[in-house]
Amino acid sequence: MNVDDNKIIITIIGADQIGIVAKITAILAECKVNIEDIKQSIMQDFFVMFMLAQTGQSSLTFNEIKEKLTKAGKEMNMEIWVQKKAIFNKMHTI
């Protein structure tokens, strides 16, 4: 299996609030998902955070990790996208 197959990108979009990073990173730590990079910015009044993470050490499936993150997103009233990184590589490089 290609190393990149375990890489995911998490995108969080919504109104800025206290504890967003804390909550998401706590879930990732619990799932044994390693964060490799984090970027955040404000776009059109929305808080947007991007995380590059690696799921290779996790015993959970992609969907189980995604469900936990989606649930946390709903609790904070934020939109969360969890996607395998390959889609971005493929779409934006020749």
């Binding site: 995108t11 990079d37 776009m43 947007v48 992609f62 996208w81 934006h92």
Partner: protein, 455 residues
Amino acid sequence: MNFFNEESILETINMIRIHNLDIRTVTLALSLRDCMDSDVRCVGEKIHEKIIRYAQYLKHYADEIEEEYSIPIVNKRIAVTPISIIGESCKKPNYVYLAKILDKAADEVGVDFIGGFGALVEKGMTKGDIMLMSSIPEALAGTNKVCSSVNLASSKAGINMDAVNKMAEIIKLSAQLTVKNDGIGAAKLVCFCNAPGDNPFMAGAFHGIGEPECALNIGVSGPGVVRAAIESLPKDTSFGEVANKIKQIAYKITSTGELIGHELAQKLGIPFGIIDLSLAPTPAIGDSVAGIFRAMGLEHAGAHGTTAALAMLNDAVKKGGIMASSHVGGLSGAFIPVSEDAEMIEAASKGYLTFEKLEAMTCVCSVGLDMIAIPGKTPVETISGIIADEMAIGMINKKTTAVRIIPVPGKDVGENAVYGGLLGKAPIIPVNNLSSENFVKRGGRIPAPIHSLNN
């Protein structure tokens, strides 16, 4: 590769969440040539067993990939060898029974449609072809998921006018047998010229004769994404730059489809076939090919300039997409199905988009006269004339053309045929009332054209 660019990530997400980028269909193409038998019941059993064996995990894996990439996979479909060929092996063929077997198998594996209940008769009809064609109205009325297509013409063989006349009757009968649903039988039936054997889109998908045992073909879409990209340009941007923008977007859409297609084929343990890079609209707001014409600067679809706009769009989509995939095939280009495109529906309702303009547009679009509702009282001979015209466009221009028209029983111009879902709603538009009868009744074949002196 350490790709991590915020702008690109947001661009991808916005293509999906705002502009309806999706994988329109994943289609398992399957040969049924090893299902022949002299006993039609045995043929039915073999077909059922083979479809279940190959397609039982199609939906499961497609759903899994949809989650992993957060990109909708709208339809899961199956395309099989033209059934006329398979049924011909029987001493007493029963094509309606075989259609019901296809429907049952499609239902059991959870796909949306199964295509291939058809025949290839561009040069002539065998006994099996004639029996299959005669059974189409009953087969389509008695099933939910079966789609039918018949190839009536090609650039190499000419136009089989006997088959054109027969299909005109069959279209009319298919609509009449499904009168309660505004003739939906005819919406699941398409006549082709130069039909491709690897097309993943319905109603015309079938598994061609030169194709392998099985393959996964994929159809991508995204008219909304193209429209948004054109709208982001200044109004006075020149055509060259507009075409370049379309090519860039087509590349992105196609490369996504290529990724999904390869992953799904790998999970299913079958070869990846082709990607069909078509802009296929849906009735959803914004997901419209006619909307692209407006973004290009036309007041509405049907205005003078629409054919030129469509020609540029169709060509740019192919140019952009072809570099993103190892194998491009199917119908690749821009679709113009009237009932499935909210802004085409509006243009037809307001009289901007006439039958004649639609016919002109089919000279440069990727398919043909698609999902057009006409008055139920339209004579069979006029329908023959409509099909003959469209086949001629395909034959002479060496392109695929098709006819999927619905003579809506009991309804006339000004009324609507309503199907719902992806098939949408079609305003009934007028056809020319002059008689085509003495022309089409000559029968025989219109000879294949000369392939030089291209004037």
